[in-house]
């Protein structure tokens, strides 16, 4: 056996070309060309458009900071930018607080329930986002099931207007994003070496201390990955804000959607798009930093 192996490796060393038929690197070229043309170039043109330079016929093309001035110095737009980041941050935090215990339960205690739980986590991904917001509308309507139940229980006397405030928007966003958080934390939590927890317990740490000083720090990588995904996707979503909350939460993507449908101020819309793109790039940079740290370890 060992002789066969050693002869094999000598032959490989002598004739590397014919023995190592790895796929050539240039195979990526078609994909790169298509994405440069239909993804990179349009985004680059969007950046130029946000600076007033456009090739749209009939529109003046001249460099200007006007759109960005408006975004950053007009209190209304500045407020919308702040609201966008705030909504994304709150939703990320909510998803983490709600999702971590679920991931923990699935990895450590679910047993035979793990598979059905996984199905329930994936099920929302199979439904359209319009379906889910429609469902919240039906549940929390003035004469909906939640109001009827509360009335019947005697908790309230008159039906509540639960569809109007921002709370329902956060509920909807959390519903869309929490599964992503759980799915990001599960693999990391699964790889945590349980002997480290046992050692902590043997050395006298209680269950809470063990969790906060051993388990939680060891699963930090999954937490950060999940948070970045939730933050990025929330930052770019608009359907939930459009269909829930009766216009109480206005974020940049929603504003882009409205600009397109109503005022068609494309320079401003492009500036808002570029700003969203900037947030994404920051998140991706943070993510790649974590990836590199992981490789160095």
């Amino acid at each position: 056996m060992s002789t066969a192996q050693s002869t094999g490796s000598t032959v490989t060393a002598a004739r590397p070309d014919s023995w190592r038929r790895t796929p050539p690197l240039w195979l990526y070229l078609p994909a790169l060309a298509i994405l440069l043309l239909f993804f990179g170039l349009p985004l680059y043109e969007g950046l130029l458009r946000s600076l007033g330079i456009s090739n749209i016929p009939g529109v003046d093309s001249a460099f200007t900071w006007n759109h960005y001035n408006k975004l950053f110095f007009d209190p209304y737009y500045l407020g919308v930018i702040g609201e966008t980041l705030k909504v994304s941050a709150i939703n990320t935090l909510l998803c983490l607080l709600v999702g971590y215990p679920i991931a923990y339960f699935m990895v450590r205690h679910a047993g035979r329930w793990a598979a059905p739980l996984m199905f329930v986590l994936i099920l929302p991904l199979l439904t359209s986002i319009i379906m889910r917001t429609f469902g919240w509308n039906v549940l929390f309507a003035r004469r909906g099931i939640v109001n009827e139940a509360l009335l019947w229980l005697g908790v309230i006397d008159t039906p509540l207007r639960m569809l109007d405030g921002p709370a329902i928007v956060y509920l909807g966003l959390m519903h869309v994003m929490a599964p992503f958080m759980v799915l990001s934390i599960i693999p990391v939590l699964r790889s945590v070496d349980r002997r480290l927890e046992e050692s902590a317990r043997i050395l006298g740490a209680g269950a809470f201390r063990t969790f906060f000083l051993v388990t939680l720090p060891l699963s930090l990588e999954g937490i950060i990955t999940g948070c970045l995904i939730v933050f990025m996707v929330t930052n770019g979503s608009f359907v939930t804000m459009l269909l829930l909350g009766n216009g109480s939460v206005v974020t940049l993507p929603l504003l882009i959607y409205q600009q397109f449908n109503q005022s068609q101020d494309m320079g401003l819309a492009s500036a808002m798009g570029t700003l969203l793109l900037g947030v994404v790039l920051v998140c991706l940079y943070v993510q790649s930093g974590i990836g590199r740290k992981k490789e160095n370890r």
């Binding site: 990526y28 994405l35 985004l43 199979l126 359209s128 379906m131 549940l139 998140c283 991706l284």
Partner: protein, 271 residues
């Protein structure tokens, strides 16, 4: 005694965690279940009916041309965009996965980046670009933008599948006299097929529900289902939306079950 106390305490902890998980499951299922129930109402009001079920809203969407036409458009679009993306992403994954150069890393990051950019931003910029090269609002415009956003989903899962492959498989194939294409089609392809299917499933589902990308390119000839649903919602609020939502969910579920039967869910979850 104290050991006993600790174990009953931890059992209490597990029980409350299980109760919490049940609450979470209820939260995830509630809006979906309510829409399914609403779709069977015999009445005009959007609510669950407790006095009988009917299929009248399914009949209504079957006879409402925009829903059926756009459903077909969406399915054809998702299928063609995913197929095109497979043709682009599978070779790219094969070529890039073995390379460790900085340049190859940068190319990989770029090819993955459409996942992270908000669909609305891609749609807005593509609208002008495609108009300037004469594509305009058409099925072709939908196909191009959906293909671009599908590539990373397939690249990601196929690259993961390739990383797990030992180069000795390819070597063994060459030793046995296979040429490059034979080694690929008989050895590599079957091994990365679960990765392709997992990525294709994701790409299909994302394309099917990509409102942010599609609504810029909706035209009278080709509009996708989410765009038509949104404009329907703007005009009327009736259980037809519930029915068409259920149809879309059933299609997605059937697809998931087929792929799960063929390759197992594990491939999807470990990504």
């Amino acid at each position: 005694m104290s050991l006993l106390k600790a174990s009953s305490l931890s059992r209490l902890g597990t029980a409350s965690l299980a109760g919490y998980a049940l609450l979470f499951v209820t939260f995830l299922l509630a809006p979906i279940v309510i829409v399914v129930l609403t779709s069977f109402t015999p009445h005009n009001i959007v609510a669950v009916s407790f006095d009988g079920i009917s299929l009248r809203w399914y009949e209504r969407i079957w006879n409402y041309r925009p829903f059926m036409d756009s459903l077909v458009t969406s399915l054809v679009l998702a299928l063609s965009a995913t197929s095109l993306a497979i043709l682009l992403a599978v070779p790219a994954a094969l070529g890039l996965v073995r390379s460790t150069s900085r340049f190859a890393d940068a190319v990989t990051s770029f090819l993955l980046s459409p996942i992270a950019v908000p669909p609305l931003v891609i749609g807005l910029s593509s609208l002008y670009f495609l108009a300037s090269i004469g594509v305009g609002t058409s099925f072709l415009a939908l196909l191009i933008t959906h293909t671009v956003t599908s590539v990373p989903y397939i690249l990601r899962t196929v690259a993961a599948a390739c990383k797990g492959l030992s180069p000795s498989y390819g070597e063994a194939a060459s030793v046995l006299g296979a040429n490059g294409w034979q080694a690929f089609s008989c050895v590599t392809l079957p091994l990365i097929l679960p990765g392709i299917f997992a990525g294709a499933l994701f790409s299909f589902l994302v394309s099917l529900d990509n409102l942010g990308l599609s609504f810029f390119f909706g035209s009278a000839q080709a509009s996708t289902l989410p765009v038509v649903m949104l404009s329907y919602l703007e005009n009327q609020f009736d259980p037809a939306i519930a029915a068409i939502s259920c149809v879309q969910m059933i299609i997605a579920m059937a697809l998931l079950l087929i792929i799960e039967k063929a390759y197992g869910l594990r491939a999807l979850i470990t990504q």
